[in-house]
Symmetry: C2
Amino acid sequence: MARTPIAVLPERERGECTPIDTRMKPERAAEVADLLKVLADPTRLQIVVTLRDLGDAVCVCDCTAAFGLSQPTMSHHLARLRDAGLVDVTRRGGWAYYRMRTDLPAPTKRLIAAL
Amino acid sequence: MARTPIAVLPERERGECTPIDTRMKPERAAEVADLLKVLADPTRLQIVVTLRDLGDAVCVCDCTAAFGLSQPTMSHHLARLRDAGLVDVTRRGGWAYYRMRTDLPAPTKRLIAAL
DNA sequence: CAGATATATCGACGGCCATCGATGCGAACA
DNA sequence: TGTTCGCATCGATGGCCGTCGATATATCTG
């Protein structure tokens, strides 16, 4: 089923493009791409990795101080992680504690573990 | 070293935000984020997964037919994968064969394997 | 209640990017 | 040499997003 290796291949007729069989369905690709978009930001990436390794919760003011970004920006990033289902929030008093969700789908877990 | 668990924590003074210790350096985060940006597109994601599982080369016309996009767009996507160092190109006659690079850094390999 | 603190939301701005049609370029073939 | 085919590049366009200041909301304190 493997395609002819490139070193042997080039016996190819002009105007005959052999269609490739995609290994990932478009719907699944869209899902994974959306997840990757959420992770494809330096700040959010650091937050995710930190939450993953810390195994504990942080609140917005902590992140704001750590990354040198404005409070609205940090709130925006955390909201984006929350909308993606990666973290959840627990409000306690004035503070909002964000921590990594533990019930993530296995493929998502594997991806985050590979970061 | 672990932070106080959220269930026990909230003994917190107002105006005292404890800075978190980031688990990923900013420079590394920027690198990984750039890689994720490249992968965070449904078309490129399908190409990468296909090339990964196929272990062989495809040319632009194959992809164009498979994904229903214009030839310039497909050329753009493959160029982006090439610029990111994920694939390399071998020109043979009129065709350009793209295949997954085998000398990727270990972290990159792990990430692609987790897709 | 008045003030302070933590967070969320809003509106705006600037930049990046996916996509396309048009065009250029190189290789093969008649 | 002229034509055709595969691919790359260019310029334009529309949309998404990271960032911020300003503002709203909620909670606590006095």
